[in-house]
Amino acid sequence: MQDSLKSSSYQQLEQKSKYTNMFLRWFLYFILILFASYFIFPLYVMVVTSLKTMEEIRQGTLLSWPSGLNLESWAVAWGGRGYGAGDTFLRPYFWNSIKMVVPAVFFSTFIGAMTGYVLTKWRFKGDQWVFLFLLFGCFIPFQAILLPMARTLGVLGISNSVVGLVLVHTVYGIPFTTLFFRNYYVSVPTELVKAARIDGAGFFKIFFKILLPISAPIIVVTIIWQFTQIWNDFLFGSTFSFGEAAPIQVALNNMVLSSTSVKEYNVDMASAIIAGIPTLIVYVLAGKYFIRGLTSGAVKG
């Protein structure tokens, strides 16, 4: 008697938990979809607007679908209308940004890897202090270094040039990249370095042959971080460069703000998307190589 009572109550409980689970699952999807649309919405508006003509924009709503695949505003944003003075378009500035971001990401990542390597595998007296000061560099706001940096660039004779911006971004990036690599190399057993030293490898050989080949995950992280920071930077670009040497974000700003007559929303949107595409590409490409635990095999027993 008691057994059957028990089993029926278990069945009830089972049923109840099934419904609860189902409800929670639907609730979860609802929330996820809500947030996803919240984030995708601005992008949707941008893409849709960039494909419309000005006529459509004036007549339709923000959300309305474009009449066709109208790429004219993209062409204007990228290459201009072809008349002389006052025509701002992104192409030259896009290449400025590429010329700035590639060396800046490369140098800051490389120097960060080196510093991280030294701070973890070639410890010296006072190395914690060096690390502490580098860490401090992460917390200095951009604005605080504008004036001293402008002066430095002036003295070096590279103000208002892509080279100058490369220097600024490299220097400003080192604290972050060092932090990344240092934290990664801390988990790499120092015995690897000892073994290599006994095998006769020197400082650079150990770095290039032993440590760098297992650093892929952190290199990817650093590249993503640095690329995004430098590509999206507006403050340094607008402060240390103007006119032809400006990076794309500055040009984008000039384009959008300097329109004399009508606001061309479609061109503005197309420009903004163009300025954002490289970062997206880096995320998509690099994300693939985001593999963890390459060293785990050598460490654990």
């Binding site: 057993p189 015995e191 690897l192 000892k194 073994a195 290599a196 030293r197 006994i198 095998d199 006769g200 490898a201 050989k205 042959k209 032993i210 080949p213 297992i214 390459l294 060293t295 785990s296 095999g297 050598a298 460490v299 654990k300 027993g301």
Partner: protein, 364 residues
Amino acid sequence: MKTLKIEELSKNFGSTEVLRKINLEIDEGNFLVLLGPSGCGKSTLLNIIAGLETINEGNVFIDDYNVSKVEPKDRNIAMVFQSYALYPSMNVRENMIFGLKQAKTSKEKIEEQLEKVSKFLQVDQLLERKPSQLSGGQRQRVAIGRALVREPRIFLFDEPLSNLDAKLRVEMRREIKKLHQQLKTTVVYVTHDQTEAMSLGTRIAIMNHGVIQQNDTPENIYNKPSNTFVADFIGSPSMNLIKGTLKETSGEISFTASGSNVEIPIKDYEFKDKSNLNNKEIYFGIRPEHIYFKKSNEIDFEINLRANLSEYIGHEQIITFDYANQEILAKFPSTIKIELAKETKLFFDITQISLFDAKTDERI
């Protein structure tokens, strides 16, 4: 000529003294085990021999040549690490020949060495694999192989077995022993495991607080520990140290535990110094395995003790007895039935005892 000689070596990290005036000599072909609890400085000593740590004072000689300031690669040594330290990005072949390549060895010589060693260690089927694709035992072999191809004068092992599981550890221990028997290369081996030390070493140096406590053969370490630290460190369970005093009456020496009136006669004990033994405060050391349930020879000393606790561990049992309010442990085969809370007749093997000065903790 000594293969390795360490002279008055001291090392500190900042204000902490890690090694204090270490003197050590190893003859060609010996297997020296540095044994001690963690933090005793044994790994630091090994790193100093390898040249991975600098020296504050003293010198290291390899083949009578002062290598104190010589780079690790030029010391003619090879080292096997606890974490194996195989280069993760290289396959087994590249791992093993990395050192030879650095030393600009000719291609033919490298191939020859690689073939010889990989066959010898049975890793010749694994040459193209990455370390992450190997099992623990295989990694260990490759790590040893990487050391072997260089044909060093001295092998250094830094706790090479502590990352392996219990079964594999015993297997690899035997393999290392075989390896040493075949190659007869001088070995310095660091471990905190006394079984490993006892079974592998031809000599054992026991360290504590940066000082070598005893450097001797395994037999002497076990039978004639030079102080209470060594006596306590070696053996499981460790040696019973019973506090008490010696008495000398007309040439006959006996021991009385404090709080007891039983006199244990001391016969055939090799005292270092026979003077001033009367009324000396000492520790009477006897190993749990030298307390018998049945009388085994004439000299055995009969005593009645009360059993308090029994720990069964399969093939044997460890019984805790009360001896004048001092706990002493004894080890018996588990076939023997011992009743707790009762007086039991036991026999101390007087030929196997060690006596230590209670003030200095040194063997007398």
